[in-house]
C-alpha cells in the first residue's frame, strides 16, 4: 500500500517558524531554560521488559514538564508500572524456565542407565518453580486494579488484561507440555512392564508410579483450572464484542471493574481454605464409588463444577 511521509516538510516548516520566533523569546528565557540535551541520559530499562525485543528508550534527566526542545522526553512512568514490570519479568522468567523444562522432559524420555530419579527431580522442581511464578504473578496482578474512570486507570486495566492473557497462555502451555510428557512417560512405563520378566516387583512399582503420575496430572489440572477461573474475567474473548476497539472506548471502566470484584472474591476464597464441605452433584457420589479414593481429584471435580456450572445452562430453543 502507498504511503507518503510528510515529516520532512513538517520539520522544514517547524524550523522556519522557530527561527522567526526565537529572536523574540531567547532574550527573555535564556536564563530560565537549560541547554537542551545537555543532561546525562538514563537508560530506562523497565519499559522494555514488557517486550524484551524492543530497544531501550533513553530518557532525559530533565523534568519532562519543562519545554525540552529537541530532546526526546518520554517521562518517568507512574509507580504502578513497577508492578507491571515485575509481573512481566516473572512471565519472562517463566518462559525461560519452560524452555528448560521442555529440554528436561526430552532428556527424561530418552533411554538411559540409572533410575532417572535425578531427571524426575529436575522436572518436578522446574514445574514447581514455573507454577509458583505464575501463581505469584497472578496474585500481583490484582495490585494493578484501579478504580474510577480516569485515563490512568484505563491504562492500568489494559495492561492488566494483556498480562492476564499472557499468564493464561503460559499456564495452558505448561499444562500441554506436561500432559504430553506424562503421556509419553506412561507409554514407556507400560512398555517396560510387558517386556520385563520380574513382573511382580515391577508390577508393584509401576502401580505406585502410575499413582504418582495421576497425582501430577491432577495437580496440574487443578492449577490450570484455578488460574483459568481467576483470569477468565480479565482475559478478552477474541471475536466477541468485548474485543472491539470501539466498544472498549466506551466501556473499559465498567466491565473490568466488575471483573475485578469477582477476582477479589475468588482469591479470598482460595486463601481462607478449601471448600470441601458441600456436595454439588450426584457425579461426586458416583466418582467416589467408581474409582480409587482420590481426594485431590474429588476436590478438583467440585471446584470445576462450581466454576463451569454457568456454562452448562444452555437455553433450549
Amino acid at each position: 500500500m502507498a504511503t507518503r511521509n510528510r515529516s520532512l516538510l513538517f520539520r522544514k516548516y517547524r524550523d522556519a517558524l522557530k527561527s522567526v520566533r526565537i529572536p523574540a523569546s531567547s532574550s527573555a528565557s535564556s536564563a530560565a531554560t537549560k541547554s537542551s540535551g545537555g543532561g546525562p541520559v538514563i537508560e530506562m530499562v523497565s519499559t522494555s521488559l514488557l517486550h524484551p525485543n524492543r530497544s531501550y528508550t533513553p530518557l532525559s534527566t530533565e523534568d519532562p514538564g519543562n519545554s525540552s526542545k529537541g530532546a526526546v522526553t518520554v517521562g518517568l512512568p507512574p509507580a504502578w508500572v513497577d508492578v507491571s514490570e515485575e509481573i512481566a519479568a516473572n512471565v519472562q522468567r517463566a518462559r525461560t524456565k519452560m524452555a528448560e523444562l521442555a529440554k528436561a522432559h526430552a532428556k527424561a524420555l530418552m533411554p538411559s542407565f540409572g533410575d532417572g530419579k535425578e531427571d524426575q527431580r529436575i522436572i518436578e522442581s522446574l514445574t514447581h518453580e514455573i507454577t509458583n511464578l505464575l501463581r505469584k504473578s497472578e496474585k500481583r496482578l490484582q495490585k494493578l486494579s484501579a478504580s474510577g474512570p480516569s485515563e490512568d486507570s484505563n491504562v492500568r486495566k489494559n495492561v492488566q488484561r494483556q498480562l492476564a492473557t499472557d499468564l493464561q497462555n503460559l499456564s495452558m502451555e505448561l499444562r500441554k507440555k506436561q500432559s504430553t510428557y506424562l503421556k509419553r512417560l506412561r507409554q514407556q512405563t507400560e512398555g517396560q512392564d510387558g517386556v520385563d520378566l520380574e513382573m511382580n516387583i515391577n508390577g508393584n512399582r509401576s502401580y505406585a508410579e502410575n499413582d504418582d503420575l495421576d497425582d501430577m496430572v491432577v495437580e496440574s489440572v487443578n492449577e490450570l483450572a484455578q488460574i483459568m477461573k481467576d483470569l477468565s474475567v480479565l482475559v478478552i474473548d477474541q471475536g466477541t464484542i468485548v474485543d472491539r476497539i470501539d466498544y472498549n472506548i466506551q466501556n473499559v471502566a465498567t466491565t473490568v471493574e466488575e471483573g475485578l470484584k469477582q477476582l477479589q472474591k475468588v482469591l479470598e476464597n482460595t486463601e481462607t481454605g478449601r471448600h470441601g464441605d458441600v456436595c454439588y452433584s450426584a457425579r461426586y457420589n458416583v466418582l467416589c464409588h467408581v474409582g480409587p479414593p482420590n481426594p485431590q481429584g474429588d476436590n478438583l471435580l467440585i471446584r470445576m463444577h462450581v466454576f463451569f456450572v454457568d456454562d452448562f445452562q444452555f437455553d433450549q430453543r
Binding site: T73, P77, P78, T165, D311, R317
Partner: protein, 568 residues
C-alpha cells in the same frame, strides 16, 4: 481480502516501530475504520494501552508523559484544530501523527506552527480512509448521505463536501491498492459524472505523482454509478443471512445492536458479525433463511454433544481434557448463543410483520410481469391490518417504480389508500421517488424490459421455475458486472472520462455506488468473485443501505427540496 489486509497493514505499520507504552487517538470516522479490521487484544499486544477519541482526550489535563501518542485521523479542519490545541499543551512524551488522506500544505504549516515544544516525531499519510466491512466490500459511512439526491443548486456547499468525501475515499482505495484506474460513470447521473471527473482530476492531474504506479497490462476499471439506477434493491426485504440481519435489525461496522429490538442479557446486547472472525458466519452469510435454520440446528446439536460429554466426567483423563479444551468450549458457546439469538429474533419479526406474505408480492413486483395481479395483491396487503406502515410504503413504491406508466388511475388509488392507512406517511414521498428514480432517470435496464435480450432472459427464467420465490431477485448490479465480464458494457450507458478508453476486459473492477450499497449487492459480488470469471470485483458506497436508511435519505431530501421550493 485485499482491502481488509491493506488497512490492517497500515495499522500494523503505525504501531510497529514505536516502542514502549502507547496511546492511540482516533476520530469518530477512523475508529470505525480501525475497529473492523483490528481487535483490542491485538492492540494490547502492540503495547497500546489506551485508546481514545480526539474530542474526549482534549478534555483531560492529566499529564501522561510516559506514554507515546499515536494519532490516526482524517485530515479535516476540525481535527487540525484539535491537534493544534493538543500540540501547544502536550500531555504525552512523543507525538506520531498519521492521517488517512492527503494533507494540504497549509494544514502542515498550521501543525508545525503549533509544535513549539517539538514533540512531533513524524507526520505521515496512510491512506486507510474507508471502512472495509467485508473482503470485497467497503463503505464510507457518510452521515449526510441524502445530498446525492438533491440537485446541485439546492445546497452547493454541502454537496461539495459530499463529493469531496467520496473522491477522497475512492482515491484512498486506489492508493491502498497501488493502482490507477480508467474511469467510467453512469450516463444519466449528474453526480456520478461530477465525482468521476473530480476523481480523474485528482489521480491524473493534482496528485498524478502520487498515483503514478507501475502500470500493468490492463488498468483497473473504476465504475461510478448512482443508487437511483436501481432503487428496487434497497427497498426489498432480504432472506439471506447478512442482508436479512441488516434489513430487520441493522448492522453497523459489523456490529449488531440488539437493544433496539428487545431486552437481552448484558453479553448478548451487542454482537459482532464478521466473516473474518466467525467461521460459522463466513460459511452462512450468503445462505438463505431456511438453510441457516438447519445449519444452526446442527451447530446447536454439536454443541450439546460437547456439553453433555463435559458433564460426563468420570476419569482424571476426562477432567484433564475438559480443562484443556475449556477456552474452545467457551468460544463455541458464545458463538452458538449469538447465532441462535439472531435467528430467533428475526423469526419473531418475520412472524409479527407477516413478512413472508409481503415479500412474495415484493418479489413479484421486482421480477415478474402482470400489472393487474400486482395491483390486486398490493391493494389486499394495504388492507391487511397486520402489515406495518413501512411495509405498505415499500410495496407501493415497488409497484410505482414498476408500473408508473401503466394505469395511472390505479396508481393514484394506491397513493390515496397509502395516505389514508399510514398515519406517519409523508405525502408525496412515492412521487418524489419516481421523480428521482423513475424510468426516465435511470441508466441500465432495471426490469429487463428495455432490451430485447433482457426480455428473452426474463422469460427464460420465468419458465425455468424459481428455486426459492423469496430470493428470485437479482440486483441490477449483477447484470452490469456480467456485461463487464463479457466485455459488453455499453459506452452509451457508461461513458469514459476524458480519453480513458481501453480495449479489452479489465482484471480488476471497483464499482462505487453513490447513495450506498446493499448487502444483497455485496453478495452478488462475492458470488461472482468465487466463480473464477477472471475479474475481481470490489464494491463500495457512501453508506450500507437497508430499506429504513434508504427511505430516511429520501425523506430528508424531500424535506430539503420542499423548503427550498418554498423559499424560491
Amino acid at each position: 481480502m485485499v482491502l481488509v489486509s491493506a488497512v490492517r497493514d497500515y495499522v500494523y505499520r503505525m504501531l510497529q516501530d514505536i516502542s514502549g507504552m502507547k496511546v492511540l487517538i482516533l476520530d469518530s470516522q477512523t475508529v470505525s475504520i480501525v475497529s473492523v479490521v483490528y481487535s483490542q487484544s491485538e492492540l494490547l499486544q502492540k503495547e497500546v494501552f489506551l485508546v481514545e477519541l480526539i474530542d474526549s482526550i482534549s478534555k483531560s489535563k492529566e499529564s501522561m508523559s510516559h506514554l507515546k501518542a499515536v494519532y490516526f485521523l482524517r485530515p479535516t479542519s476540525e481535527n487540525i484544530q484539535y491537534m493544534r490545541r493538543q500540540l501547544s499543551n502536550p500531555r504525552f512524551g512523543e507525538y506520531h501523527l498519521f492521517f488517512s488522506n492527503m494533507l494540504k500544505d497549509t494544514q502542515i504549516h498550521l501543525l508545525a506552527d503549533s509544535d513549539e515544544q517539538e514533540v512531533v516525531q513524524q507526520v505521515q499519510e496512510f491512506y486507510a480512509d474507508f471502512i472495509s466491512v467485508d473482503p470485497y466490500h467497503f463503505t464510507l459511512n457518510m452521515p449526510s448521505n441524502h445530498y446525492y439526491i438533491l440537485p446541485a443548486v439546492v445546497d452547493p456547499s454541502n454537496l461539495q463536501h459530499f463529493c469531496d468525501r467520496a473522491v477522497d475515499g475512492i482515491g484512498a482505495v486506489f492508493l491502498a491498492l497501488k493502482r490507477r484506474p480508467i474511469i467510467r460513470y453512469s450516463r444519466a447521473s449528474d453526480i456520478a459524472k461530477r465525482i468521476a471527473h473530480e476523481t480523474a482530476k485528482l489521480m491524473y492531474q493534482q496528485e498524478s505523482g502520487l498515483f503514478d504506479f507501475r502500470r500493468m497490462e490492463m488498468s483497473p476499471l473504476l465504475l461510478i454509478v448512482d443508487r437511483r439506477d436501481d432503487p428496487v434493491t434497497p427497498l426489498l426485504n432480504q432472506w439471506t443471512y447478512q442482508a436479512m440481519v441488516h434489513e430487520l435489525i441493522g448492522i453497523q461496522d459489523n456490529k449488531v445492536d440488539l437493544r433496539s429490538i428487545g431486552k437481552f442479557p448484558k453479553d448478548q446486547q451487542e454482537v459482532v458479525l464478521s466473516s473474518e472472525q466467525d467461521a460459522f458466519f463466513k460459511a452462512n452469510m450468503y445462505e438463505n433463511f431456511g438453510d441457516i435454520g438447519m445449519n444452526i440446528k446442527r451447530m446447536v446439536d454439536d454443541f450439546q454433544q460437547v456439553a453433555k460429554s463435559n458433564q460426563n466426567i468420570q476419569t482424571i483423563e476426562d477432567m484433564a481434557k475438559f480443562v484443556d479444551n475449556y477456552p474452545e468450549y467457551r468460544k463455541m458457546h458464545g458463538n452458538v448463543s449469538k447465532h441462535v439469538t439472531l435467528v430467533t429474533e428475526m423469526s419473531k419479526i418475520v412472524e409479527e410483520r407477516k413478512l413472508m406474505l409481503v415479500s412474495e408480492t415484493e418479489q413479484d413486483l421486482a421480477c415478474n410481469g402482470g400489472q393487474v395481479a400486482a395491483f390486486e395483491a398490493v391493494t389486499n396487503l394495504l388492507n391487511n391490518e397486520s402489515v406495518s406502515d413501512i411495509d405498505r410504503l415499500r410495496l407501493v413504491m415497488l409497484y410505482a417504480l414498476r408500473y408508473e406508466k401503466e394505469s395511472p388511475v390505479q396508481l393514484m388509488q394506491l397513493f390515496n389508500k397509502l395516505a389514508s392507512r399510514s398515519a406517519k406517511y409523508k405525502p408525496g414521498l412515492v412521487q418524489f421517488l419516481l421523480k428521482q428514480a423513475g424510468a426516465d432517470k435511470r441508466t441500465g435496464d432495471l426490469y429487463g424490459n428495455r432490451d430485447f435480450l433482457n426480455i428473452a432472459r426474463n422469460m427464460a427464467r420465468g419458465l425455468k421455475g424459481v428455486e426459492n420465490v423469496y430470493t428470485q431477485h437479482q440486483p441490477l448490479l449483477f447484470q452490469t458486472m456480467e456485461s463487464i465480464i463479457k466485455g459488453r458494457l455499453r459506452d452509451v450507458d457508461y461513458p469514459y472520462v476524458g480519453n480513458h478508453f481501453q480495449q479489452g476486459r479489465p482484471q480488476e473492477v471497483v464499482i462505487f455506488i453513490i447513495g450506498g450499497t446493499t448487502y444483497e449487492e455485496s453478495r452478488s459480488v462475492a458470488q461472482l468473485n468465487a466463480s473464477n470469471s477472471g475479474i475481481r470485483f470490489i464494491i463500495g458506497g457512501t453508506a450500507v443501505l437497508n430499506s429504513k436508511r434508504f427511505l430516511k435519505d429520501l425523506e430528508e431530501a424531500q424535506g430539503i427540496a420542499r423548503s427550498n421550493a418554498n423559499v424560491v
